[in-house]
Symmetry: C2
Subunit: 203 residues, 2 copies
């Protein structure tokens, strides 16, 4: 469809980096902004640029934040003896929305996946190990997704915790197999947290 | 969900200016860019900023373009004696995709809608009238949408054309009533163009 000008074509193309946006949605979005909401488009461009430049990782839990430490790690209201390990920042949001967890988090930003070159180093597990050996943490709750890779990651960290003398628990299954933590409702998540159990020494 | 940092929250909020994007999609988009495609996010921010600043209207046909004149108006390959009047730039794209029309366009960027304060002036009809009186145009094809407002707009322009001594035709109905030209397939559009007829002096 070369009827649009080069810059408008470029805008439609650029919008397709967004997940779930195909050529038709991209065209609709581009014309919507150009015809009806330049102000909104300018604000989006500005916030997007800032976020891409300034958002980094929390130095304590690795979650995404533009501060050196995220709000939860920097605050004083949480129980520092419990650490919940999740795969993504969206998982933190989901658990926080459930409103029953009072400890801190460690965000892997992924899961062990040797075929994709994602090993312990890429997930910051050296930093997690140092934290577990630091003496402050008494329990680590493994809340990786109940997928094959998520389970393998949980087992790996459970071993690490045991070696450091820290109790390791796994979030209760109640979460459907192959499901995604981010999309669970608060009730299921609360249930899964409450029903957590010790990770057995051997499977 | 205040678990995300202020800048990430602002990004999710800003993404909601896009049509069809609710809180859940906005979160998914924000994390996708932050975790997996910073480069794509930066490019989108850049192109978006440029497009919001630089895209204006073609001085001849009023369509959206960053040049003084759009590619079609600036080129020499089209039949300048036929002018197709449409509501939006997306309609131009749809007709061009059908590949059978060889004339030029005039893009209203809307339709007459007195209740919303959109009159002849807002649609640039003074410029269209000057064009029709200029002597170059022999036929004006009215391709506004077959809605109540689109029909009223077509009638208004047909009167203007007759007063200027220009033949006015209406795109054939084959287009479903209440439908949107932008979403029609090429075959239906070709058919509608070929089946155009004179606008009767009185209804
Ligand atoms: Zn943190
Ligand atoms: Zn033009």
């Amino acid at each position: 469809m070369a009827a649009a000008s080069p810059l408008i074509e470029a805008l439609m193309e650029a919008l397709r980096v967004l997940p779930g946006v195909g050529p038709r949605s991209a065209r609709r979005m581009a014309y919507h902004l150009l015809e009806r909401d330049r102000e909104g488009g300018r604000r989006l461009a500005q916030v997007l640029r800032e976020a891409m430049e300034r958002v980094g990782r929390c130095e304590a839990c690795r979650t995404l934040t533009e501060e050196p430490r995220c709000r939860l790690c920097a605050g004083s209201g949480r129980d520092r003896s419990v650490l919940c390990v999740v795969e993504t920042p969206a998982d933190v949001e989901a658990i926080e929305a459930a409103g029953v967890y009072r400890g801190l988090y460690f965000v892997l930003m992924g899961r062990l996946s040797p075929l994709d070159g994602i090993g312990p180093r890429e997930l910051g597990l050296d930093r997690l190990e140092a934290r577990l050996r630091g003496g402050e943490v008494r329990e680590v709750i493994l809340a990786t997704n109940p997928t094959v890779e998520g389970e393998a990651t949980a087992h790996y960290i459970a071993e690490m915790a045991r070696a450091a003398g820290v109790r390791a628990t796994r979030i209760a299954c109640g979460v459907p197999l192959g499901g995604d933590l981010e999309y669970l409702d608060a009730g299921t998540l609360s249930h899964a947290l409450a029903g957590r159990r010790e990770v057995a020494d051997e499977e």
